[in-house]
Symmetry: C2
Subunit: 204 residues, 2 copies
Amino acid sequence: MEKTFDLADIEALERFYRVNFITKLCGINNANLIGTTDENGTSNLAIFNSVTHIGANPPFMGFIQRPLTVPRQTYDNIKRSRFFTINQVNNSFFKKAHQTSAKYEKGVSEFEACQLTEQKVDDFPVPFVQESFVKIGLSFEEEHLIKCNQNILVIGKIQKVIISENLIDEDGSILLEKANTTGVAGLNTYFEISQIGKMKFARP
Amino acid sequence: MEKTFDLADIEALERFYRVNFITKLCGINNANLIGTTDENGTSNLAIFNSVTHIGANPPFMGFIQRPLTVPRQTYDNIKRSRFFTINQVNNSFFKKAHQTSAKYEKGVSEFEACQLTEQKVDDFPVPFVQESFVKIGLSFEEEHLIKCNQNILVIGKIQKVIISENLIDEDGSILLEKANTTGVAGLNTYFEISQIGKMKFARP
């Protein structure tokens, strides 16, 4: 049996009920950890469910940053240092990744607090997450203030990709099921994935 | 064994290999069908892998539209009519949903061409996909031209949600595994999902 919610019905929902409901309407996304470094050299790590492909050539990725009404260490660090890393979460450490969403004080590294391992690669100025199988280093490219709710779309240019060699298929595809990539819905529900089809380029 | 790709290595990849590689770096996303109607009343339906939660209160969702260097019926229809629908793809019809990515001429409805069913709800001016279990009707809210590659972030305000009643959990969460929600990576690889954890709000 289908139920219809109009905007007025949605606005009348209890606050936490509404968050659970609305945040899952877009379905599943990948869980990703964004790594940054603050002005004192302290690493920061935060889980995001909004990382999106922006372009392949040149290669860009983006994510949605919540409003700056409270301190946002990830955003502040990116704007200051101009670099960040995106690290795909996998099923072996999704609970540690979720724990990065706790409000740790500035000066505390979530790598230490959540028992994840910093990985430095070449001279890239921001740490990657060693436990991740797919890690991307980016430089800040541009940002857009979303007028309707003061969120920010942050876009980075891919400068470096570190990936386990056995996770790249012959055609360049990253084998996400083999990587045990973790999906996430809303703020709290995690999923494993199983491939059900690889389709050809569609023609009418 | 880990392999590192620098930007120059990525730029040197063969074109299709690079697309397969870069589009899967953000991991898995939900497959969603966006429905619109053109100025002659012909319905349009197109699959997107970039639908993102923008805000819960007021409720907003967005997606990334590729550049307007070729005709983009979804975008043109949204800008003209100011309304669109987002319909979660599920495993029972993901192949039909993929087929909407073929280049059908203007005047051809992908609903008919791909054997999906239009569903009108109340007086909402754009059709939903009957086969979908989670359907959202939105009004155009704002857009942002992404300077680095001319993509566009399109944001809509949620006006209506149509959902199977048995897919809403006690706390408002949508039960995505029960809904057989389909994940997608890049342009061609589809996944089913299995819940592995529902976590509590994290505290330090």
